[in-house]
Each structure stands twice: as structure tokens, then as C-alpha cells.
């Protein structure tokens, strides 16, 4: 899997609803431009981090779903392939399938021309073997493509989180640094 480089410009504005974190070149100019004092800008950045966290949870859940779906589709494709092979060989297929937990029943499947596919939402449709195969293959492709896009989104999101956290650290450190220098100036030579 390629680790794609982050945007070359300092801050992509947003990607699919995720606000981009703009990179701060210099803390002092950033604070002057935004007109916020240290605490408010820290507060704003923290809020941003919370938002990112919410989106991350959502994306992770979607990713888990997709990752579970893909092996399922592959298993279905295997079965259809098996049925096709048996059909061309002209043999019947004898299988043991699960009736209840730990209990299996034997079945003889002959003369296959069609399979029923579970489409979800309590709907099951009968398809010919070729149609079933192409439908399953299409679903598999879509699932893999969605997963890729999702992973890209997650990477983008994590980058924005990192940028924001580094910004928080720098604003904070800058502030401590300011106070230190002010104190050093105030202290008379003793």
C-alpha cells in the first residue's frame, strides 16, 4: 500500500467534509492574524481536535464494516465458481451444510442453473450463474474501491490531527517562552 505524501501546499482546505488544518508558519503572526489570545486559540484548536476525533470514529466503523464484507463476497464467489465447475462437469454437488450450531445436513445439488443471492433488507433474488458471478464481482470491486477511498480519508484526517496537535504544542510553547523572556527582562541583575 502506498503511503501517499500529504498535500504539497500548506493546508488543503477540506476533503469530503473534513476541514483541513492550516499549517502555521509562525506562531506570532498566526496569533496576530486570528486576533485571538493564546487561551482562545488553544480552545479553538482543541475543539477542532474533538471534531476530528468524532469523524475518525465514524470512518473507523465504516472501515471495519467494509473489511468484514469483502471476505464474505469472496466466499460467495467461491461457491458460485464451484457450482459452475460442477455444472460443466455435469456432476451433482454433494455438500454438508450447517442446519444449526454443530449440526450439519447433507444435500445433493443437481442441475444448477441459478442461485439465490441475499441482497439485504430481507430480499433474496434468484440469478443465473453468470449474472450472479458478475453481480458479486461488481460488488467486490465496489467494496474494494470504497475501502481505498476510506483509507485515504483516514490518512488525510490523521494528518490534520497531527498538524493541529503540533500547532497546539507550538502555541503553548511560544506562550511559555514569551512569559519566560518577560520574566527575565523584569528580573534585575542581582
Amino acid at each position: 500500500m502506498e503511503i501517499s505524501p500529504s498535500a504539497s501546499t500548506a493546508g488543503v482546505t477540506e476533503r469530503r467534509g473534513i476541514p483541513g488544518a492550516s499549517f502555521v508558519e509562525d506562531v506570532e503572526t498566526y496569533l496576530k492574524q486570528s486576533g485571538l489570545d493564546v487561551n482562545s486559540s488553544l480552545g479553538f484548536l482543541q475543539e477542532r481536535l474533538q471534531q476530528y476525533r468524532v469523524v475518525e470514529m465514524k470512518l473507523l466503523a465504516q472501515q471495519r464494516d467494509l473489511q468484514a464484507k469483502i471476505p464474505d463476497i469472496e466466499k460467495c464467489l467461491d461457491v458460485v465458481a464451484m457450482l459452475e465447475a460442477k455444472k460443466t462437469a455435469g456432476e451433482a454437488l454433494i455438500t454438508d451444510f450447517e442446519v444449526a450450531e454443530g449440526i450439519y445436513s447433507r444435500s445433493k445439488v443437481e442441475d444448477n442453473d441459478s442461485v439465490c443471492l441475499w441482497l439485504g433488507a430481507n430480499v433474496m433474488l434468484e440469478y443465473s450463474l453468470e449474472e450472479a458471478k458478475s453481480l458479486l464481482e461488481k460488488n467486490l470491486e465496489n467494496a474494494k474501491a470504497s475501502l481505498e477511498v476510506l483509507v485515504g480519508d483516514l490518512q488525510f484526517l490523521r494528518d490534520q490531527v497531527t498538524i493541529t496537535q503540533v500547532t497546539v504544542a507550538r502555541v503553548y510553547n511560544w506562550d511559555v517562552h514569551q512569559r519566560r523572556t518577560k520574566q527575565a527582562v523584569k528580573e534585575p541583575e542581582s
Binding site: 500500500m1 503511503i3 505524501p5 500529504s6 500548506a10 499549517f23 508558519e25 509562525d26 487561551n39 488553544l42 480552545g43 482543541q46 475543539e47 481536535l49 476525533r53 466466499k75 460467495c76 467461491d78 461457491v79 464451484m82 454437488l93 454433494i94 455438500t95 454438508d96 451444510f97 450447517e98 450439519y104 490518512q155 490523521r158 494528518d159 490531527v161 497531527t162 498538524i163 496537535q165 503540533v166 497546539v168 504544542a169 507550538r170 503553548y172 510553547n173 511560544w174 506562550d175 511559555v176 517562552h177 512569559r179 519566560r180 523572556t181 520574566q183
Partner: protein, 165 residues
């Protein structure tokens, strides 16, 4: 409940209490994309600027680290799969039957033992290739991480910590 004045919330919900702002002491900030900890500590008065390039390097390091952990998990699964296939082929050699029940999807199809053998061989080949691919990717990720570590430590020295706890 937002963070109070001198508290910082980190990504994994721990709260860092820093000293009140008017006492000068090093400020630690935990930056944790997954398990990596990037601490930006203030040095003795010096303040290293963070350029966009540095930020990109930090981002890339974080991403590589995440990918590394994902790969570790995937390699574990792939190794198990390989072992299972080995066990299966050993059982096959020991067994005497002509027709075996071979799992396809959720059902067990009755398959003659020669076909089972060839299927199993193919599956073992695929699994071995997959494992090798993952291991290679892991090596590449580790190498890239080492490079980035050199660069980032070179610039930030003590102000940054890229090790795992």
C-alpha cells in the same frame, strides 16, 4: 466540559496537567497517533521553528507508524493462515479417504482427494506469497521510518520523541 486553563486533552483521552503559565518549566505535550508519542518539549530558551517540510515529515512518520502496526496485525493473521494450511495438508497425507469435505464458503463440499490436494497446494502458494508481500512491505516501512527519524532527530534533537512507550 472543555479543557481548563492549564489542562491539555490528548488524543487518547488522557489529560495532561501542565504547570500554571507563569511558572516557567518545560511544557510537554503528548501527540499520539496510535501508539507513537511525539513530545514537544521546550528547550532551554531556544525555540526551533517548525517548517511545513518538518510538519510533512512528522505526518509521514505518523502514517508510517500506523501502517507498521496494521502490518504487524496482518502478518499475524497471514502466519496463522499459513500454519492452518500446513496442518491441513499434513492431515491430508495421513488420511485415507477418497472423498473429503472441503470448505467452500459456509458449506463443506464433497471433493475427491486429488482435487483437494491441488486446491490446497494452490492455497498454500497464495498464502505464502501474501505473507512474503506483507513482510517486504514491513521492511520498507521500517526503513522509511528510520530515515525520517534521522532527519527529525537531526533537526529537533531533544524536543521531539519518536519512540514508542
Amino acid at each position: 466540559m472543555g479543557p481548563r486553563r492549564n489542562e491539555i486533552n490528548t488524543l487518547d483521552n488522557t489529560t495532561l496537567r501542565s504547570s500554571p503559565l507563569f511558572i516557567s518549566s518545560p511544557v510537554e505535550f503528548l501527540l499520539s497517533p496510535r501508539r507513537i508519542v511525539l513530545k514537544m518539549q521546550q528547550g532551554e530558551g531556544s525555540e526551533t521553528q517548525v517548517t511545513w517540510e518538518d510538519q510533512q515529515n512528522i505526518n509521514k512518520f505518523g502514517r508510517l507508524n500506523n501502517r507498521y502496526h496494521e502490518l504487524e496485525e496482518e502478518i499475524k493473521v497471514a502466519k496463522e493462515a499459513n500454519e492452518n494450511l500446513e496442518d491441513a495438508s499434513n492431515e491430508l497425507i495421513l488420511s485415507d479417504e477418497d472423498v473429503l469435505r472441503f470448505q467452500i464458503g459456509e458449506v463443506f463440499a464433497h471433493v475427491p482427494s486429488e482435487e483437494v490436494e491441488s486446491r490446497l497446494e494452490k492455497m498454500k502458494e497464495d498464502a505464502a506469497k501474501e505473507l512474503q508481500r506483507l513482510e517486504e512491505e514491513k521492511e520498507s516501512v521500517l526503513a522509511q521510518m528510520a530515515e525520517l527519524k534521522k532527519i527529525l532527530y537531526g533537526k529537533f534533537k531533544d524536543s521531539i520523541n519518536l519512540e514508542e512507550d
